[in-house]
Amino acid sequence: MSAVTEKEEYNYDIVKFCVLTGILMGVLGTLVGTFVASELAYPWLNMDIAEISFGRLRPVHTNVVIFGFGGFLLLGGGFYMVQHSTHARLRFEKLAWAAVILWLVGCLCVVATLPFGMTQSKEYHEAEWWIDIILALAWVCMTITFLGTVAKRKMSHIYVGNWFFMTMLFMVTYIFVFNGMCIPVDMTFSYSAYAGVHDAMTQWWWGHNAVGFFLTAGFIGIMYYFVPKHANRPIYSYRLSVLHFWSLTFLYVWVGAHHLHYTAIPDWTLSLGAGMSIALIFPSWGGMINGMMTMSGAWDKLRTDPVMRFMVVALAFYGMSTFEGPLMGAKSVNALSHYTDWTVGHVHSGALGWNAMIAIGAMYHMITRMWNTEMYSDKLVNMHFWVHLTGAILYITAMWGSGVLQGLMWRAFDSYGNLVYTFADSVAAMHPFYALRAFGGFLVFCGLCIMLYNTLKTISAVKAGSNVALGAAAKA
């Protein structure tokens, strides 16, 4: 069978390492996330310990889920996709391992330094300068490996998933380097090369494009390989993929300014950012439609295959949050939503709905293919799906509720022209939402624990030879 020889050619060891590390990072990141969410609902949980106080621990959560969980999915999924879509074994394998190890070291350094207050204070770029260098080296190694493998592809065309992946590799290099420019005071502290307005613009150019390229272009690349592969259907429209690829590549870069609406940034920049944000719905939905429509003729798989469910619901969340994004990018909506939990809700509908679910789907897919086995328990995969989905929905709806309520309470005037609520009133009103959000996050954490258990059981069954080979169950 050609499939078997193919599998022998590819480097799966590195992908296996990345997938397992990714799952562990997911468990850790959501555990910390659940804890910091609980701190907001029940502040005594800060326990008067500096290292676990909300302000220090919150970036640990964001970094571990984005760069740990998301990063290892991109490394593993990217190395898997690039080999399969080029029919070539990974090039520069030592460099690839260097990328993975350096990335892991970087992530662990982040976890080890942030609780002690070593932070650049730039959101999603908190790691101090020397950790940035480790992560940047890993990124360069990954880029060379990836492009090198694409260069020795065994067909003339470069697969669309790899276009998106390449866009991510380039853009993240730009934004990471420019936003990370700083002058160190010592190993524990550095000052940004920019101040005030310039720092804010550069930070949100990074902030939104970390979302736009790391968490969107990269993950869309992953989607373009794993959804058609898992559904066993061709991509719906080649032309749509071309169109939304170039428009997404061009448009995403402009929209960071919408994080700064009505601030001291020049108004023309903000209007430009708002306009581009609204336009961004087209390339975003292009990807969502292309992914969804790939399912045509294979929708029945949703009934039987929980992994397919993860992927399709991920696309649905992607479509939903890329509708919400342009909405919040419009100035008048942003006037209400900015500074509130609505932003947090929006981020998590993207992160828990789109990123996590497509990542989890791709990971299950890779595990079964790489170990050539059925999962230890499909029931547990199904359970993971429902637990995760319930958690994500509770989280998002709680944040919608609290965000809109906050925004409305802050701007409420009575008939005498006085503010109706004190700020403290709005904080008190948040409590039930914060408690519900923490519970939703806890469910997501539980789901990932189920995944970890299921994966470990699957691998140990393979090692013991007691597993069911992939596809054998269906044939029987």
């Binding site: 302000g55 919150r58 697969y159 000052y191 940004s192 804010a200 592969k229 001291a264 920049t269």
Partner: protein, 281 residues
């Protein structure tokens, strides 16, 4: 592998087939295209005036306030407290005049924040007493029962002074107008402001940080008008204890100057100046 459809050749006159068969061409196109938006939006902010109304009074932080800013950053205060008031009626009522770009022009790193789990602090200076801040830091819920802020009584520890001078030197390199004199006197100024030197260094501190001429390391001079009286520096034992300098001293010194440097005047339109028109007096 889902088969890609056969050679499509041209798409609306663009030879896309050629692009996607060549890694170098695809790579160059992508590398250029993703750079455009950032260049157009960020580069002009360095050359156009329209982001920065000309106001007087914005000075670099004193050594003690600078250490306070470092504590603010270390504890992640900016994650829950913004320092950017928007030009809305409710924000004016609640926090005061909207923030100007100039007010954070020396803020490396910027601390505008993106979330208000707690209230904005851009104009916190002078709003509450030091005693309130001490109580609020030690046990927030004892003064604001609804608060979800962690207790920060661990800030009652001696301030680490090993980096202060280096911090000022680094900021000086980036055109924050600290003079050689400011940097040389960092320790005297820090102790004078925290009130631990029995008033010995107060005059020197005030002479340095209430001045009206500021020269940065590029030689650019900012000269305020002769009639402008800079906001006085707060000099006292902020944590209520004049025997040593603590992190609490530094943090409260930082908070008590927030938003107090620009003297907003009635009848001056700072908003339209933002759009490049001279403001009216």
């Amino acid at each position: 592998m889902p088969e890609k459809r056969e050679n499509k050749g041209m798409i609306r006159g663009i030879p896309h087939d050629t692009i996607e068969q060549s890694l170098p061409i695809l790579a160059v196109f992508v590398a250029i295209l993703v750079a455009v938006g950032g260049i157009v939006e960020i580069v002009p902010t360095y050359y156009l005036d329209d982001g920065e109304p000309k106001v007087e009074g914005v000075r670099p932080l004193t050594p003690l306030e600078l250490e306070g800013f470092a504590v603010y950053r270390r504890e992640g205060c900016f994650l829950c407290h913004s320092q950017m008031i928007r030009p809305f009626r409710d924000e004016k009522e609640r926090y005061g005049h909207f923030s100007l770009a100039a007010e954070s022009k020396y803020d490396h790193n910027y601390a505008w924040g993106s979330k208000r789990t707690g209230p904005d602090v851009a104009r916190l200076g002078g709003k509450y007493t030091d005693a309130w801040h001490i109580q609020h830091m030690n046990a927030p819920r004892s003064v604001v029962p609804e608060s979800v802020m962690p207790n920060y009584h661990f800030l009652n520890t001696p301030l680490d002074l090993s980096r202060t001078k280096k911090r000022m030197e680094v900021l000086g390199m980036m055109n924050v107008p600290y003079s050689a004199d400011d940097i040389a006197n960092w320790e005297a100024d820090l102790k004078a402001q925290a009130g631990v030197d029995d008033g010995a260094g107060e005059a020197g501190l005030r002479a340095r940080y209430e001045r009206t001429t500021w020269t940065n390391s590029s030689g650019e001079v900012e000269q305020w008008t002769a009639t402008f009286v800079p906001t006085p520096i707060n000099v006292r034992a902020f944590d209520g204890n004049a025997s040593d300098v603590t992190e609490m001293d530094a943090l409260i010194a930082y908070l008590q100057q927030l938003g107090t440097q620009v003297h907003f005047e009635e009848g001056v339109d700072y908003y339209h100046d933002k759009f490049g028109q001279p403001y009216r007096k």
